[in-house]
Assembly symmetry: C2
Homo-oligomer: 147 residues x 2
Amino acid sequence: MPDILHKVGIKSSSPNAVYRALTTLDGLSAWWTTNTQGESKVGSVLQFRFGDGGFDMKVLELDPARRVLWQVVDGPEEWIGTKISFDIAQRSDWTIVLFKHAGWKEPVEFMHHCSTKWGVFLLSLKALLETGKGSPWPNDLKLDSWE
Amino acid sequence: MPDILHKVGIKSSSPNAVYRALTTLDGLSAWWTTNTQGESKVGSVLQFRFGDGGFDMKVLELDPARRVLWQVVDGPEEWIGTKISFDIAQRSDWTIVLFKHAGWKEPVEFMHHCSTKWGVFLLSLKALLETGKGSPWPNDLKLDSWE
């Protein structure tokens, strides 16, 4: 099954700071979507909304400063059941995030769109940590008519 | 074998304009790397350089305003033999580019890096066509210590 992969390095940050941005409502709201609700606890569900649509993610793993794993439990049909992971590591003065959105059934056009869009949001995460300001929805870069 | 997939929509452009940016030295130099040489003809090789390193691409297919296909003939070991395609289509006022970098043997960390970096360069292509100004190497956004 094809996966979406990304890597960003964040300068002058720390694994703890990146982990906080991935596991608190304030953090997630500052780089992905301003409309983030729910609880970031193993077994709980986070709701990410982008206007009318969005994704519900069940939190499967939380390993402080190292790893976050979610599973999509509601959202577009192609996303349901897929898993999203963030692996964090420090290498000299870069905090590295390896991202994977795994379990797509087919490499449909929507997967191409989501791959680029994840890249855009991970650059928003990077900017948030490096400059204090991300570009979460609705201030994200629009890629096409699907946003 | 895992693939890197992306999609960008370019506003108020045209398939011909996008095709030119993918098939002329002036175009390629304005969004990917300022150090682009060679000939964009089927069977010829294009040289893309980024400081000391870079990629040599053999041009396999050129379908005006519709499709470009290259195969990597020199560069990092993980890239050699892989194929890079751009499929172009017009949908209402968006020119859509579907991108694929296919044939990676393993989803190594370098593939994660290249996936995000391709996203950055495709956003540079989008900016070039929408605003007249891309961000080719060496003015590209640096993602990590691998650039």
